[in-house]
Amino acid sequence: MASDCGLPVRTSEGRRRSGGAGLSDHVLALRGVTKSYGQGDARVEVLHGLDLEVAAGEFVAIMGPSGSGKSTLLNILGCLDRPTGGAYLLDGDDVAGFNDDQLSLIRNGRIGFIFQSYNLIAQLTVLENVKVPLLYRARGQGGGAQRAQELLRTIGLSHRLTHRPSQLSGGECQRVAIARALVNDPILILADEPTGNLDTKTGAEVLELLEGLHRQGRTIVLITHDPAVARRAGRTVRLQDGRLKEAS
């Protein structure tokens, strides 16, 4: 894989006006975020008041062992879950109080997910998989089919457009997932152990892809337990027993 993979650079049109005081250039900010499950005696607090700021264009790795609340944090960052307390500001909006529909829209338009197990839909072709986020765009936003094809071309998978995920290797699957994550031009890319299911070589290729995206100005938050992977990011934050600590 070439280091400059020719992926489209974020245009200024994609960036939203950010609101809120003193946050003009932060893509996301967590302020005293807590998350607990259960009630009364059975109550378990998983995250204890997290503070985090990620500026536009940063590449941040969040490291932590299992049980540290990594998945919980990821779910909150990805707007799949709401914090119990505190504020989560994404591009200036406090999404903690958003309803299901609003959160869905944010996931669709502002966040690009990359999962450890790729999470492609088996019955769809490669191209169709990349086009899935286009189906759920806000009303009035059409098109994007061209973009999907273009992304796959720059990622080097034009020859696999009509194949099913079962016919692809792990690395190819993850690359399709990356293209899918980019199709709606998100402000934040959230990657959960993207190389976890890949061998070293393929994993390195995927990380190079991500680095390429970073170089083009995209904001990337990557969650991992592997220090070697974390080192590829510009900044590492440690998550330990539900608390965050800057590391590098």
């Binding site: 799949l80 879950d81 869905s104 996931r107 669709n108 999470n119 019955q123 899935v132 189906l135 759920y136």
Partner: protein, 425 residues
């Protein structure tokens, strides 16, 4: 929007085709449900039409008064050797009806009695029907050879007759029937026409005053009146019996269908005045039709209701299999939600699938129903009429079934927690 609907439809179709056996089993309930509904509706329509044909033949504006032998007789005279039977409708009745009952468009008298028909040495038991020429037209008596009776035959008092084909063959006659001379009773009649042999229904026989076994010979009423008279003398074991029934039937046609029942009442009054005994009966095809229609409707609705139950079962089957499908595709639902699908998108996706399956099942069901109804019709000798209306109805019902029974599984899918769904399997 249209693009999205098309995409949903194509996706649903692809999922259907991807699991052909499961799709078939899912649709099966709807297939048979719709099939039975269509078959029942077709049979119902056929029954309706048959009913109308049966009574249409007799004329819905007709009131038919038949003479009948009364149970108790007041005027009979019995001596040791003779028994006189005189009963039934008379020419006086005919006159009175013509003169006093309003709202009538025509009145036709009929005199019918059993007679022996001879040709050479062969004889057959027949009934002689002396009718007005119009009578044959009114009751749809058609000649397959030659002609029926005409006004000229009446005015000319011609000794002509039109007979049923079966009578002819029983007399052992072959070859050209027209012009043959038959001895009926004590008069000779020339055959001018052969009538088709028809299988008649019970009510039709009763109304037309026909015995199921005997064969009819139709002659002009005017001829019989002038030449033969209406008395019959029979000899039995030494004693003699004389029967005099002037008119065996009077057919009264009301001007309008709405007037029929009123006219019946008036007829009853007129006849009651001059008849002491109950020596006549009034047959009203319209009344009988209305009665039969009511019973038939109840039957029809019952059949359709039962058929609808199978449709209900089909719908439950869809819901059931869809629930299993949703569980199977939990991961996929989680992924779509993570990528930004709103709940309504998930509902739409699964609802489309159930609706497509149900509608396709409905279409196949229409074909099955078509086959079933014709099979049943062949077996029961009823007719089946599949109308475009019933097809449209059945298709809408199957579509509706898909929507109604798909709603529950679709909502379940939409309400899944995306995080848990992503972890599934």
């Amino acid at each position: 929007m249209r693009e999205r609907v098309t995409q949903l439809f194509l996706l649903a179709l692809r999922n259907l085709v991807g699991y052909p056996l499961r799709s078939l089993l899912t649709a099966l309930g709807v297939v048979f449900g719709v099939g039975s509904v269509i078959a029942m509706m077709a049979l119902g329509a056929g029954m309706q039409q048959a009913l109308l044909a049966e009574f249409g033949r007799l004329g819905l504006r007709n009131i038919i008064v038949n003479s009948k032998k009364p149970a108790t007789r007041k005027k009979d005279v019995q001596t040791s050797q003779w028994q006189f039977n005189r009963y039934g409708l008379t020419r006086k009745d005919l006159r009175q009806i013509n003169e006093t009952v309003p709202g009538i468009s025509e009145v036709l008298p009929v005199h019918a009695r059993p007679e022996l028909a001879w040709h050479g040495s062969r004889k057959v038991e027949a009934t002689l029907h002396a009718v007005q020429p119009r009578h044959m037209e009114m009751f749809g008596l058609r000649a397959i050879e030659g002609r029926t009776l005409t006004d000229a035959d009446s005015t000319g008092l011609r000794r002509v007759c039109a007979v049923r084909g079966s009578l002819f063959t029983e007399l052992g006659l072959r070859g050209e029937p027209i012009g043959t001379s038959l001895l009926v009773g004590r008069e000779y009649y020339t055959v001018v026409g052969i009538l088709e042999d028809e299988p008649l229904l019970d009510y039709q026989r009763k109304a037309m005053n026909l015995d199921s076994k005997t064969k009819e010979i139709y002659v002009p009423y005017a001829t019989l009146n002038e030449r033969a008279g209406t008395r019959i003398v029979t000899r039995r074991q030494g004693s003699r019996e004389m029967t005099d029934v002037e008119l065996s039937q009077i057919v009264v046609t009301a001007e309008r269908e709405e007037d029929v029942l009123r006219t019946v009442e008036m007829l009853q009054r007129v006849l009651a005045r001059s008849h002491e005994d109950e020596d006549y009966e009034i047959v009203v095809p319209l009344k009988e039709l209305t009665l039969r229609r009511k019973t038939q409707e109840v039957l029809r609705y019952a059949l359709i209701a039962i058929a609808s139950i199978s449709l209900l079962v089909g719908g439950i089957g869809i819901a059931n299999i869809m629930l299993a499908t949703v569980t199977e595709r939990t991961r996929e639902i989680g992924i779509r939600r993570a990528l930004g699908a709103r709940r309504r998108h998930i509902v739409a996706q699964f609802l489309t699938e159930t609706t497509v399956i149900a509608t396709l099942g409905g279409m196949i069901g229409v074909g099955v129903g078509f086959g079933m109804s014709h099979l049943l019709a062949a077996w029961t000798k009823w007719t089946a009429i599949v109308t475009p209306d019933s097809i449209l109805l059945a298709l809408s019902i199957s579509m509706g079934t898909g929507i109604v029974f798909g709603l529950f599984p679709a909502r379940r899918a939409a309400l899944l927690d995306p995080i848990a769904a992503l972890r599934h399997e």
